[in-house]
Point group: C2
């Protein structure tokens, strides 16, 4: 199987009777700048096109010390939320003639560390990361700005890294307020992974609204402990078994909601007649649920897009990311409450 040889710049130059550097210049649009004869340029361009030449980007990457590639690390590519982030990042990257190298950390800190080092060894020009957990030491090195990195969705307050996330506290407040305004006082928040910033902020918002409305916080009001279907399911089952008389559930992401729904369903409890429910994130086809869910939705598309744009600003050195500077851009995008009637108005 004779590995067919790719056309190289040198071959092209030989065919043209020119030096590689002349050809390189023309092909990179630096013909004017180097005052290469109009005629020569024509000849080169034409021939290159004819022979279908395109440069070896690996060689170029080595020489220029930049690969035109960015890395993206996500905890679960099969979750629509992250998939949408991936899509918008990919599109922005491609628009910039960059390639996107995607890794799925499978919610494992070890894998995250591993792929991160893999990507860095591959000399990516930038990194977008949705860090998996609560440990952040391995991200410290990114504070140096080489390569530039932007965090999405989750971040660490003690890390001087730019990020794009949702206004989680605000979203939780809106959701909780919605419940309270409908007369609910016995609300259980099914949380995600404790100590992640996302979870912390959402809980903050939740408690704040309780407090403002003089609802005494009790321990049973926070249950669960993971952003998974399983966690939502188990937590809800346990609540029901223990006979807590809550009237409403606030689930901190789509998966937890699905799990809770399953448990409620098994217990023959209906939403919103028996239990009211508000959840973070949307669910595909939620409009066709037997009771469509009221949601606090984020915009993963915008998160990804914004993060990618920030990253390219850093890569192209717009926006002054010098590490001494104070300007580490940190963004909280607004969330939106969509009322789909999964909250019952309680009698006063």
């Amino acid at each position: 199987m004779a590995k067919q040889v790719r056309l190289t710049l040198k071959m092209l130059a030989d065919e043209l009777g020119l030096s590689t550097c002349t050809v390189s210049r023309v092909l990179n649009g630096k013909g004017q700048q180097y005052r290469i004869a109009e005629k020569t340029m024509q000849r080169v361009l034409e021939h290159a096109h004819e022979r279908g030449f395109s440069p070896n980007l690996v060689a170029r990457g080595l020489r220029m010390k930049q690969t035109q590639a960015v890395g993206l690390v996500l905890p679960d590519l099969s979750n629509t939320f992250f998939a949408k982030i991936a899509r918008s990042v990919a599109n922005v990257a491609n628009q910039n003639k960059f390639t996107l190298e995607v890794c799925d950390s499978q919610d494992s800190i070890d894998l995250e560390i591993e792929v991160l080092s893999l990507l860095r060894n591959r000399q990516v020009d930038g990194l977008i990361i949705c860090p998996v957990g609560i440990d952040s030491e391995h991200l410290r090195i990114l504070e140096s700005g080489a390569p530039p990195a932007v965090l999405v969705d989750r971040y660490f307050p003690n890390l001087r890294l730019p990020y794009v996330a949702s206004d989680n506290a605000g979203g939780a407040e809106a959701a909780t307020r919605h419940l309270v305004e409908h007369g609910h006082r016995k609300i259980v928040c099914l949380q995600g992974l404790p100590n992640t910033i996302t979870n912390v902020h959402r809980l903050d918002g939740f408690r704040r609204v309780l407090q403002v409305n003089k609802i005494r916080f009790r321990n049973y009001m926070i249950a669960g402990g993971g952003f998974t279907i399983e966690s939502g399911y188990q937590a809800t089952r346990k609540l029901l078994e223990q006979g807590h008389s809550f009237t409403a559930l606030l689930t901190l992401n789509n998966l937890i909601a699905l799990g809770a729904l399953k448990a409620l369903h098994e217990a023959r409890l209906n939403v919103p007649e028996d239990v009211s429910l508000v959840t973070f994130d949307t669910i595909e086809g939620v409009d066709f649920f037997s009771s469509p869910l009221t949601t606090v939705s984020q915009s993963p598309r915008k998160i990804g897009e914004r993060a990618a744009i920030m990253l390219f600003d850093l890569i192209y050195d717009r926006g002054g990311q010098d590490r001494g500077g104070q300007a580490v851009e940190q963004i909280h995008l607004p969330t939106r409450l969509t009322n789909r009637q999964s909250v019952r108005k309680l009698p006063v």
Copy 2:
């Protein structure tokens, strides 16, 4: 901003008072093979670890003419189906110490062509592609096997390329049979993009079962023309407006189903009381729909995994992909019908 210099093999060698090639050998585990002194190896390994050295993969890629990267081209990363494919491909790739370069062709043939050439210029060692449409000329070049490529989900019979897809005809047959066995004879199939192999095979299966059951095919029995929510919605609306008296719908993917559901809902028609429905693909949370849908589901995870494994076989030259050979592996994975009671039993 002084770009901090990365540690190179040469620096390491200098520090050790050895030549780069010795260090390189040790680090690549070829110490034994080249009979490098046990002591030296120790020294090298230790020092490298101490200094946290890791090789520049771009340079290595150039030198070795292989980048340890594979490309993945998908029409829409935000569709769970493709996202799941992406995830499993990414995982297999990472297990093999490869990186995955993902591109979203946004269902545009032009973009597909563009990213394909981008990926090839980046010298990826292999390609997995879910081609967007009906044109395949730009894929012809991949028949040469350099770089090796595997198609997923969609493919072209006139192209000698390996692929992994679902048994679409079989799936459609199962679905249609299910409907017929429940007494339905006025069935409308809401198709996807005409002329794509996926669509063609599903229609084949559909018609075959009609024929076997002596149900005369009529034109209104195939409607729509795209794998999108919009297409499903519009087609269903039109059907209703025109007053065709169908009793069942077979939708050829999840998005079409969602669109059809929306139209039915607006017309205050219920599933399955007024209209029965079976759809290809699953939908997140379909179990909680007011009427859960009976589905013919594929396994995107398996498709991706299988394709990735096939690709690595080709890359590592297992499985003899020499282009003279007859063995272009083409696989149809089985589908599964999950009955969720969205088909009503009609009186005889």
